[in-house]
Amino acid sequence: MNNIINIDPLHLGAGYLLLLLPLGLLLWLRVPILGQTLTAVLRMTLQLLFVGFYLQFIFDLNNHWLTGAWVLVMVGVADFSIIRGCRLRLRRVWLPVFVALVLGTVVPLLYFILLILGGEKAMHAQYLIPISGLILGNCLRADIIGLRTFYTNLKTSEKNFELTLAQGASLYEASRPYIREACEAALAPNLATISTVGLVSLPGVMTGVILGGGNPMVAIKYQIAIMIAIFSGTAITVISALHLCIRNNFLDGGILDPEVFSVKLGNKRIKS
């Protein structure tokens, strides 16, 4: 890591000047996202500053409890983002999504740390936090796509869903085609990334290892392991989230509870 070129604050500050070009173009074209862009850049800076200081503190302490607590905080933030992104009611889905995120993050994380990296060093916060962050970030994206696809399709095919129930299907049997579609949609971006990795772009972990002074062969080993962990994590979290949500998001008669949505999606009950 000592080989890495450090960026001094003055140069980093100068880096912001690069933004003048896209901002100028946006202003010239009157694309109405100027304020949004500035807010996003400011948020990004503040969040990363906070995380930088905090991670330094956690890495120095290297306390397993503190590391675990930080991972749980990250899961909690992801949980809220997913629920907000899917326009679902917090009190109805926060627990199933939280459990699904923990499963999707912790299972591949432990596999990666204990089996692939191995050794005492791998349990260091310096490994645990970035790897869990990478897995969790992908789980978040996959859960948003998966849950949104599931609920949207279910809502638009409400009559077909009822017909399936009327034909004798159980709730799970009737939901199966929607689970399948949701999983496919949620995992498709990850599959596309896996199949084009290295050709379209150099992925983050690989770039990080190379910038940190590692040789490319070390970098690709990390990248392969992390991509497998990410894919496993996203599959675990999406499948768990859908199954756990099904358990408490339907009314007793098998109809999707409209109270699950944070926005009104029409009449509670359809008239003839």
């Binding site: 129930l165 009327a166 034909q167 004798g168 049997e173 008239k271 003839s272």
Partner: protein
Amino acid sequence: MNEAALQIQHLELSFGDQNLFHDFNLRLETGEKITLVGPSGCGKSTLLRCILGFVMPDAGDIRVFGEPLTPASAWTLRPRMAYVPQEPELGSGSVRAAIENIFSYRSNRHLQGNLERVPELLERLLLHTGILDKQTSDISGGEKQRIALLLALLLDREILLFDEVTSALDARAKEAVIQMLIDLKSVSMLGIAHDQEWLSFADRVVDMAEAKEAVI
């Protein structure tokens, strides 16, 4: 008095400020065929959805073969009924897959032998067996209605609930469907329709607008 296949008593249901059912009553005897008529929006389709447990009434009582319909009992009562909507969706894939799919449900697995009746039923519904290999997206609305009807008949249910199931059929196909239903002597039927054929074949025609006013 014998136990009715279906008994609805003092049904109350409203959506917002619209009162859809007020003290609505209906009795369907075993083997009886009732055709429901009435202007659109009077609650015909909603009534079928109430019977299937998809809409829970505000008050009143629905009994299927004497057993009260509740959100919990709907799961055990639905397998005694079959429902065919006006515009059935058969999912993606082939017609054959759509037919076989309903027998993959745990509650229908014991009926898998009924698949042998498919060619005979197709013939009676004036459908060619070649339709089985077509994609569900490639068949017409009338064909979809008849395949959905075929699914309902394969399930051997005691009560059939139909929502304008012959609306997309020509006169000949409509006649074939009605003849088939007439032959199901022991099956109780509650169908929404406006065609003359349905009105003359039914044991009883219930005008929903009038029924809401009086106890049947």
